[in-house]
Symmetry: C2
């Protein structure tokens, strides 16, 4: 194939083509400095400018208020499943968790495994995770409330966030960070693996309210400590320099697109096109409840598994990759992150109409 | 600068130019598949071929015997400083450590911080870490012996490894992995951050004897567990896919160079050229004891700090980057990893002669 494919992968996922072009053009000789970004010392002036710029852009794009720190970790959301309770859940106390899907369950089981007391205050598991739980109240005395803002596998997403009063709200936003405007001041901590909307896998963004950083106990691994990694401005040890560089470029791209307000508008339009073509048919059937639908991962079924396999195979032949649903639930999933262009959605919607005509 | 610089960075460090060229050429469209490696699902056939190939090449290049597993982690050597005792040092028991420099000290203090009992059986700290300790004996009952095979900051390197009998030998080889042939069967576990001889920062290689994998307790973070990450063939969660891809290319490059035997020959020649030009002068003074000299990091002093600053600045003007010694020890350090070409050493040696003539 000489052209770029339409990439509906759930993550690692599509990266804006202009970003990849810039990475390619500077790969052997960054800005005339005679070396690749991946060959730079993490203590050099050149890399310092890159990481500082990535942090500043993150604050600007997300309108992060004063009193928060942007920190780069390694280990994906999975390390954060452990880091959150290790840093913020004192032994003998408890934290509230909402169970809205597979990743929530992993966050809960990781905390429990470390001997922490987890209080699951709401769950949609009985409903096969087809909706986001609502109408619960945070337990007085909870050290925090943990939620998963978007459930990649089930195609559900918080439309509004719970009010938690003085209890810090902690969100795993791995699959929908920077897809829309949010009010960061409502959160104590936000974390996200980069590999959906922010860059390549291997870097995790943590946005943490500075007073929470200081809660980290001494006796946990340094690489899990908000106080140590945050206190050293993500340079306690060698960070994933190349990933941070690409995150910077993607944040510049977001600004160039008009910022999160404009991207949200585009993302809602992209999602609506897909949901409309599902709803206006008796052939396709959306799996998430309407009030919980994600604008990042659109999940649906066809009349049979056989047709679903055929759909995925024919779509691939037509240049659309990654439409197979997660192995745990089956069906079809179109992940339409920021970098998936409108043209990809138009092509998919056109294909869905054709496929229905031929197989309906 | 339109040309590539001579890169003597201590890490992240030089990457073979042919590898960077291949990365560049395939950046937007890997092997005609229509997407970048960093946009691929970590569960796709294409990425599976890449990671399997990286593992197989690592085994081939290092001649790793059966019964060992190659595993990719995140978090650098610093996470391994914690992971090693968390997985392998039972509470109430103890492990032996050799203190040969700053990174050994960090490994020791990380283990202690986690409440583990550390027994430092040998140290060169009183000698400013200018040599590798020798002549010690492993303590009977130790759960393992931990060493740092090469000390980036002090320019020292193990010339032969201690015999440990039944006690597993564990080595942090971050700064000299794949610089020479070693007998892997002498080790229980080897770990190395990729950013010196193997690839970009953000990926850590762990080579572990399979019986040790099973020792991991249940109550540690999954991202630190040899049994979990190893048991899932490095795919428990999303690994740093792009870094693993570059590691694969570098291992192919190593094979293309003639393997570790040939590379060791070249590395010894490169190091000898530098040490000779230090020893054959009363202007330059090597800091590591001769029997402990590293073939990866060559450290030396000039008659004054003022001259050292001038040396670093003039070298940079002549296209040689990264010669400043680590901030904790000062002086000059030339890191001459696998990817630093002979031409770079020749240029540096020539410059050293000129600089001495003009300033001696």
């Amino acid at each position: 194939m000489s052209e770029r494919i339409f990439n509906f992968n759930a993550g690692p996922a599509a990266i804006p083509q202009s970003v990849l072009e810039e990475v390619r053009d500077d790969l052997l000789n960054y800005k005339g400095e005679g070396l690749s970004v991946m060959e730079m010392s993490h203590r050099s002036k050149s890399f310092d400018a890159i990481i500082k710029s990535a942090e500043a852009l993150m604050k600007e794009v997300m309108e992060i208020p004063d009193g928060y720190k942007v920190v780069f970790f390694q280990g994906g959301a999975t390390l954060q499943f452990a880091a959150v309770p290790m840093n913020l859940l004192t032994d003998g106390k408890f934290a509230d968790y909402v169970n809205s899907g597979s990743w929530s369950k992993k966050a809960i089981s990781e905390a429990k495994k470390l001997g922490k007391t987890v209080n699951v205050i709401a769950s949609s598991e009985d409903d096969n995770f087809t909706h986001i739980p609502k109408g619960y109240k945070v337990t007085p005395g909870a050290e925090y409330l943990h939620i998963t803002s978007n459930n990649t596998i089930f195609g559900t997403q918080y439309q509004e966030f719970p009010a938690t009063g003085n209890v810090p709200l902690i969100a795993d936003m791995s699959s929908d960070i920077n897809c829309r405007k949010i009010d960061v001041s409502k959160f104590g901590l936000i974390y996200a693996g980069a590999q959906k909307n922010l860059g390549p896998s291997g870097t995790t963004i943590v946005i943490i309210r500075e007073d929470l950083m200081k809660r980290s106990p001494e006796n946990i691994p340094s690489m899990c400590s908000y106080n140590i990694i945050g206190g050293k401005d993500s340079l306690y040890n060698t960070p994933p320099t190349f990933g941070i560089y690409i995150i910077k470029l993607i944040l510049e791209w977001i600004k160039g697109q008009g910022g999160l307000g404009k991207l949200e508008e585009i993302n809602r339009k992209k999602a609506k096109m897909l949901y409309d073509s599902i709803d206006n048919s008796d052939f396709y059937r959306g799996t998430a409840k309407e009030d919980s639908r994600s604008i990042m991962n659109v999940t649906f079924r066809l009349p049979s598994e056989e047709l679903e396999q055929k759909f995925v195979a024919e779509a691939l032949q037509k240049g659309m990759l990654g439409l197979k649903g997660h192995r745990s639930v089956g069906g079809i999933r179109a992940s339409i992150y920021n970098a998936v262009p409108m043209k990809a959605i138009e092509t998919l919607v056109g294909f869905m109409a054709d496929f229905k005509k031929q197989n309906g």
